[in-house]
């Protein structure tokens, strides 16, 4: 059967449906991530969590939304009015718009043609993601500065420094992915993972770890929540915000989490790909193919509704895994200090990402020179090389070379002494008298 991409007036219908659907789904997921965070943290901390509004507290996000809309909007007298209002908008926009280039499922066949399950399959996918995720820092910095509050100001400063620093490590850790995939389009990256026969988390394990750490820092989540740091800076850059403007900051934080999770799932866990090649589908020279035969001829794909649904389920599960990881880590770890975050970013993440990019470039070049076919064996060699690099990286981190004094932690630092009465040289009351 010959599949053609959807075209004509139906493509506009499909596009508007996709935009509406994905935006709605993302917003609902954001709302329910706030609930999930509270429920999971409650579970971790041995308490109940919100369970009053609706069954299992399922209507809690709606109640929160209504509350935030009804609350009073405050505008500090000394705040810079325009930027104060602009900041939440600026911070909300990039966190949602990034989702446009992430493929969420296998192509869906319809009578009018095959619909790609992605809003905009633009050829500069990852660059678009990087560009828009960097824009989010403007909202944070503006919010901190426009509040005319010292805590907010410090929070904004921290946010700008931190996000700029980790942007570098994030971009560099992506280099390995781009080299292996040979493309910056996210659909192409998913396709290359299907072709390789394994998800990039294995052949590029160190890039995966670096990316996850940088993504945590990019989304300002604990242990990197320097800009907020409620025990130091009250709540940092959004100290002065209330009601819906505050809510916009919260939505953007969770929106960033969802987008980053989806991105990590796409780049390193195969996106919507499920194990096996039954669901593979990719546009190749005008044909929807599922792979290449040994002689180089194409194998045509057979998209189906159930395949689209199944792959969407896979994508949702992978994204959900990262969301739970975000929440789990937040409620387990303490927070870094500001300078430790910076030194981790510049002294550890950046050189490691650079060295790893070099290593992967060398390995990929060598494998291509040898003429090893791009496939499972190719992936295994890369997995071995990356595995060694990862072990070295973890070894280095574990030996306390990043955090001052951590090397001494294994040695017992506290001695318990049994002091006999009078032995310590302190006069007894009777003697003193």
């Amino acid at each position: 059967m010959d599949y053609q991409p959807i075209s004509g007036v139906w493509s506009y219908v499909a596009m508007s449906l996709k935009v509406t659907l994905i935006f709605t789904v993302v917003m609902v997921v954001v709302a329910y991530t706030t609930l999930a965070e509270r429920r999971v943290s409650a579970w971790i901390q041995d308490r109940h969590g919100p369970n009053r509004v609706g069954p299992f507290g399922l209507l809690q996000p709606i109640a929160d939304g209504i509350k935030n809309i009804l609350k009073e909007e405050t505008l500090p007298a000394t705040a810079s009015r325009v930027f104060f209002i602009l900041a939440p908008i600026l911070v909300l926009f990039p966190s949602l718009v990034t989702f446009a280039v992430i493929p969420i499922a296998a192509p869906l066949p319809t009578p009018a043609g095959v619909v790609d399950m992605i809003i905009a399959d633009i050829p500069i996918g990852i660059l678009y993601v990087l560009a828009f995720s960097s824009l989010a820092v403007y909202g944070v910095v503006l919010g901190g500065w426009a509040s005319n509050n010292k805590y907010a100001f410090l929070g904004g400063l921290r946010a700008s420094a931190q996000m700029v620093s980790y942007e570098v490590a994030l971009g560099l850790s992506l280099l390995a992915v781009l080299m292996l995939a040979g493309n910056v389009t996210l659909t192409e990256i998913v396709w290359q993972q299907q072709q390789l026969g394994m998800w990039f988390a294995f052949p590029l394990s160190l890039a995966f770890i670096l990316f996850v750490i940088s993504a945590f820092a990019e989304t300002n989540r604990l242990p990197f929540d320097m800009p907020e740091a409620e025990s130091e800076l009250v709540t940092g850059y959004h100290t002065e915000y209330s009601a819906m403007k505050f809510s916009a900051f919260m939505i953007s934080e969770f929106g960033h989490m969802v987008t980053a999770s989806a991105l990590m799932a796409t780049l390193f866990l195969g996106g919507w790909d499920l194990p096996g090649s039954w669901d593979n589908a990719h546009w190749y020279q005008g044909q929807l193919i599922s792979g290449f035969a040994a002689d180089g001829s194409v194998i045509l794909a057979s998209p189906a509704l159930w395949k689209t649904l199944a792959t969407f389920g896979g994508f949702a599960a992978k994204t959900g895994f990262f969301l739970v990881l975000y929440i789990w880590i937040r409620w387990t770890l303490p927070r870094f200090r500001y300078d430790q975050v910076m030194s981790l970013g510049w002294k550890v993440m950046l050189p490691t990402a650079l060295a790893y990019a070099m290593l992967m470039a060398g390995t990929i070049l060598t494998l291509d020179e040898i003429g090893l076919a791009y496939g499972f064996g190719y992936g295994l060699v890369l997995t071995a090389v990356s595995g060694m690099a990862t072990v070295g990286f973890v070894f280095m981190l574990d030996r306390g070379r990043t955090i001052t004094g951590a090397a001494a932690q294994r040695t017992q630092r506290i001695q318990t002494k049994t002091i006999q009465v009078g032995e310590a040289g302190h006069p007894q009351p009777e003697e003193a008298a």
Partner: protein
């Protein structure tokens, strides 16, 4: 924050005008040129309303970027004039003031106060009372340390240990409640004994707590002690040497973390502490991490002491059998003439004290807690009542500890000193 100077004429022999009156002092400020605005230190208030000041403490910080150039604690927001109020209350009425000072470990304050009064009056409490007081004091040492542990964890960003700690505190709250009827303002002690003997089943309840508490402590220990981030946040932060710690008058875990082996329970034992088998943890670096380790170990040692105290808890009366000190039972008051007279005298007059003054120090949860009372002959109220609050003295070291560190470290140092504003402001 341009600097302005005001010149005042403060000379002893002011210049006289023609009318024989001193010339008006030049009070008007003399403007000087605005200094260069390039690098200015930022003045920031941490508190009195701030999530990490553990009460209403105001820390006035001078920041250079995020580095603390100087910090000045501003106290007194919670001042209630307890010491002066005490001069208008009889010996037993003062007990209710004491637990409002350290509301994180109220029973220790209750005990410390009555111990100083008993020492002044030369009252020897019964054996049972001694052991009961050791039990409630050690219980509240855990109580106070748990709050410190939870809030310190929050200040460092770890929320979960806070709730683990508070679940255990809740159990102690319940113990307080069944012992005294109140959860925080316990007022459990009386001169010469206790408000009431231990209720039925209280020891079982305490044993139940002791069975589960070490597990929870171990869980928190696993979350924090070996955690690289926690270590990075605490080791080498807020270091104070042994000599300086003594000079600043630090006591309690803050002093012991600096390597000074001074514990009032060991060095000036009271209530037979010398016969209990326990150890005092001593640090060596004097930083936040050592203070953390010391307090964690102290909680384990308190569990040891509690178990020994429960084992040796003797029977017999809890109050001294002296009608001039202890109230008779209500039944006796209603049926026995003499008891009724004693009851009347004790309620209307109070307990007469001999002339003199007395200082009594015990090891509180925050450090050496001293109570000084002065009485006149036959007085039923103190002439002067003065407290040596450990938190007050410990807080004075914060400018020294925090200078040169970052704001985040200042929060950590403040948390590690384990202060309670009730006793600082009194």
């Amino acid at each position: 924050m341009a600097e302005r100077t005001i010149e005042l004429n403060v000379s002893r022999n002011p210049e006289m005008g023609v009318d024989g009156l001193p010339k008006a002092s030049p009070l008007a400020p003399i403007d000087i040129a605005e200094p260069d605005l390039g690098t200015e230190e930022m003045l920031i208030n941490i508190g009195p309303q701030h999530p990490a000041t553990h009460g209403v403490l105001r820390l006035i910080c001078e920041l250079d970027g995020e580095t603390v150039v100087d910090v000045t604690p501003d106290i007194g927001f919670l001042h209630s004039s307890f010491e002066k109020l005490g001069e208008y209350r009889t010996w037993n009425q003062i007990v209710t003031l004491t637990d409002r000072m350290d509301y994180l470990a109220p029973l220790i304050y209750n005990c410390a106060y009555v111990m100083s009064v008993e020492k002044l009056m030369g009252i020897e409490v019964t054996e049972r009372c001694k052991v009961v007081r050791v039990i409630i004091m050690e219980m509240d040492r855990i109580f106070g340390h748990l709050l410190w542990l939870g809030t310190t964890a929050i200040d460092v960003g770890a929320f979960t240990p806070f709730l683990y700690a508070f679940q255990q505190r809740e159990k102690i709250y319940k113990l307080h409640e069944s012992l005294t009827g109140a959860r925080i303002t316990t007022s459990a002690t009386r001169v010469g004994g206790m408000m009431a003997d231990l209720p039925e089943g209280w020891i079982d309840q305490l044993n139940d707590f002791l069975d589960h508490f070490p597990n929870t402590l171990g869980e928190i220990d696993r979350l924090l002690t070996g955690n690289q981030i926690h270590i990075g946040r605490t080791q080498g932060v807020g270091v104070i040497g042994a000599d300086e710690a003594i000079n600043y008058g630090l006591t309690g875990a803050n002093l012991r973390a600096a390597g000074v082996d001074y514990d009032v329970r060991k060095d000036q034992p009271y209530y037979d502490y010398e016969t209990y088998d326990f150890e005092v943890p001593i640090g060596e670096h004097g930083d936040c991490y050592d203070r953390y380790l010391c307090r964690m170990e102290e909680m384990r040692q308190s569990v040891r002491i509690l178990r020994q105290a429960i084992d040796r808890l003797p029977g017999g009366p809890i109050n001294v059998q002296d009608p001039n000190i202890s109230l008779p039972s209500k039944t006796d008051c209603m049926s026995d003439m003499e008891s009724m007279i004693h009851h009347f005298k004790l309620i209307t007059d109070g307990i007469p004290a001999p002339e003199g003054d007395c200082y009594m120090a015990i090891e509180g949860s925050k450090g050496e807690l001293g109570m000084y009372v002065v009485a006149e002959e036959g007085g039923t109220k103190p002439v002067r009542w003065r407290i040596r609050p450990p938190s007050f003295v410990n807080l004075s070291a914060i400018p020294k500890l925090a200078r040169g560190h970052l704001v985040s470290d200042l929060i950590m140092i403040n948390a590690s000193l384990d202060i309670v504003l009730g006793e600082i402001d009194r």
